[in-house]
Assembly symmetry: C2
Homo-oligomer: 348 residues x 2
Amino acid sequence: MSDSDEQIFTPEVLERVTSATLMGMGAPADLAHLVAESLVLSNLVGHDSHGIIRLMEYSGWVKAGTLIPHARPEVLWKREGTALIDGHWGWGQATAALANTTVIELAKEFGSATVVLRQSHHIGRMGEYVDQMADAGLMGIAVCNTGGAVVAPFGGVKPVLGTNPFAWGLPGPQGHNYVLDFSTAVVAAGKVVLAAMNGEEIAPGSLIDKNGNPSTRAADLEEGGALLTFGGHKGSGMSVLIDVAAGVLSGNMPATLADNGFGNGTIFMATDISRFVELSMLQSISQLFEGKMKGSSPSAGPKVLLPGEHESNVFGSRSQKGIAVSNGVRKNIVGLASEFGVSLPEFE
Amino acid sequence: MSDSDEQIFTPEVLERVTSATLMGMGAPADLAHLVAESLVLSNLVGHDSHGIIRLMEYSGWVKAGTLIPHARPEVLWKREGTALIDGHWGWGQATAALANTTVIELAKEFGSATVVLRQSHHIGRMGEYVDQMADAGLMGIAVCNTGGAVVAPFGGVKPVLGTNPFAWGLPGPQGHNYVLDFSTAVVAAGKVVLAAMNGEEIAPGSLIDKNGNPSTRAADLEEGGALLTFGGHKGSGMSVLIDVAAGVLSGNMPATLADNGFGNGTIFMATDISRFVELSMLQSISQLFEGKMKGSSPSAGPKVLLPGEHESNVFGSRSQKGIAVSNGVRKNIVGLASEFGVSLPEFE
C-alpha cells in the first residue's frame, strides 16, 4: 500500500481523530471540537489543502510554543460598528468564530460592521466565515494577511507578499450562498507544498525560481523562489492592499516586515442586506440571474458555475460518500498524534 | 492634420470646455463644474477612457431622455452606519460625490459604513472616490454593477456580466494613497470601444467573438462577442458578486436582467482606520513596506509600482505639461456641443 493510496473516512471519524489530536496538543475539548469541525468542513467542501492536513503545521507551532493551545479569544473592545478581537495566539478558528459572531451582531445592529482580528493564528478557510455571514442575511467580506512572504508582486522577482486570501459571501437563491474565497497568489501555498511533497509540477505562470525565472517545479518555492499573483497587476494590487490594511490594522504586520511564518492578520466586514432589499427579493433575482449564467455555457462542455456551487456539490457528495485520505497524510497524523501521547485507533 | 494627431490643453481649459458642454445639455453650473472636474481628473491621472471622451456617451443619454441633466441627488435615508442615496438619474458623479460625503461622515461616526447608490448614472472613475475616502483617513471599497451585459463569465461563451469595477483605497505613506481601481473584465469596455474606433487590435485573452472563439478584433465586442473576466474564475467570481450585490441592493439589477446599457448600481464601504491604529503608524509601516516592494524589482527593468503610484506620477506630469487630446475626440466634442447650442472657442 503506497502513501498515495487512499482510504475513505466519514466526517464524524475525521472530526473525532482531529479533535483527539488537538486535545493531545493541549486544546480544551470545546476548542478542539470547534477547530476539528472547521478543518473537516474544508475537506467536506473539497479543499483538502485547508483540511486535516493542517494538523501537521499546527503541531509544529504548538511544539515551538508559538501557538498557545489553551488560549481563548477575547473581544478587546466594541464600539458602534467596529470591534477588535484578540486571539491571544490560540487557535485561529476559535478567534475567527468569535470575530464572526461579533461582526454579525454588530452588522445587525449598526447595518455595517468591521471587525479586526489580532494575535490570530491560521483561521482556516475564509469561505466558511463569509458563508456564515451570508446565512445570517449579510454580505460578508474577509481579507487576511498571511504570515510568510512567499509571493512576488507584479513586476517583481523576490517574495514580498503573503498569499493574502480574499473572501466574499452573499445569500444565494437555492441550496448554497454565493461564496468566493481565493488566494491572491495564482495557487495557494498549501497546494504548492503538497505538490512538492508529492514531487508534482505546478501549472506554468504560478511560480518563479530564485533567479526570477518562470518555473513549474514546486520545490522551487522553498528554495528561494516565489509564487506569482493572480490576474497580473490587479491581483497583485489586491494582495498589497490586504497585506498593508489587514497587516497593520491587526498589528500582524505585512508579511515582508514580520517574516515569522505564522499569524493571520484578518479583517471581517459585513453589511445587513435587509436595510436595502428584502432577502426574498435578492433570492428571486439571483434565481433569474443563475438562469442567464447557465445559459452562457457552451453547447458542448461543462456548465458555468456560480461562486460556491462547486463547494456545495462536493459537500453533498462527500457528506454521503465520505472523505478520501491518503495513507501518507493518515500516517503523518497518526505519527504526530503519538508524539502528543494520543492514539487514534479509528485512523490506524 | 489627421484625427489621431494630438493637441495639448491645460486641465483648466478642458474643465471649462467640458463644463460649458454639460451646461448646454442642461446641467446647472455647480453640477456641470463637479462633473467636469471629475472627468478631467481621469485625464490627469492617465485614464483617458474615463475622461472627457465620456461626454459623447452622456450626450446620447441626455438626448434619449434617460439622463436628467438638472436632477440632484438626495439622501433617501440614513440609519446608523448605512444610507441610501438616490441619484434620480442625474449625473452619476454628483450622486457619487454625495454618497462619498455620506459614507465618510458615517464611517467617522460609526466606525464602519455602507452606502448604496440607486438610480445612478455613470459615476466615472471609482478610484477618485476611494482616494477621497483614504484622504479622510478611511479604508474605502467601491463596487459597481455596470449597465450592459458585455462580459462572459468564466467557462461561458455569451455575455452575462457588466465590466463591474472594483476599487479599494488606503492612506499611503507619501505623495499618494494606495488606490486600486480595476475592471473585472480583462480590459475596460471603454478601451475596447476606443480601439474599435481606431481600428486597433486588443490583447489576446481579452475577448471572444460571437461564436465563443478567442479574438483580438475589438469590433467583435459590438458584433455579438464578449469580453472575458480577468484572473480566470477568481475575477469572474468577483464580477458575479458585484453584479448581484450591487445590482440588487441598488435596484439597478444585474446587467443581464436589465440590459438598458446604462446605470451604475454602486456600493461604497468605508472603515475608520483610527479606531484600530494611528494613521502615523500606518504610514510609517507602509514606508518600510514600500522599500521591500521596490527591492523586489529586477536588477534590469522597471521598478515595482505601488497601487496608485502610476496615476500619481501621471497626475504630476500632466498637471505640469497638460493633457493631449486627439483631433478626433476634440472634433467630436465640438460637434456635440454645437448640437446643444454651445460653441467652444478654446477647443476649436
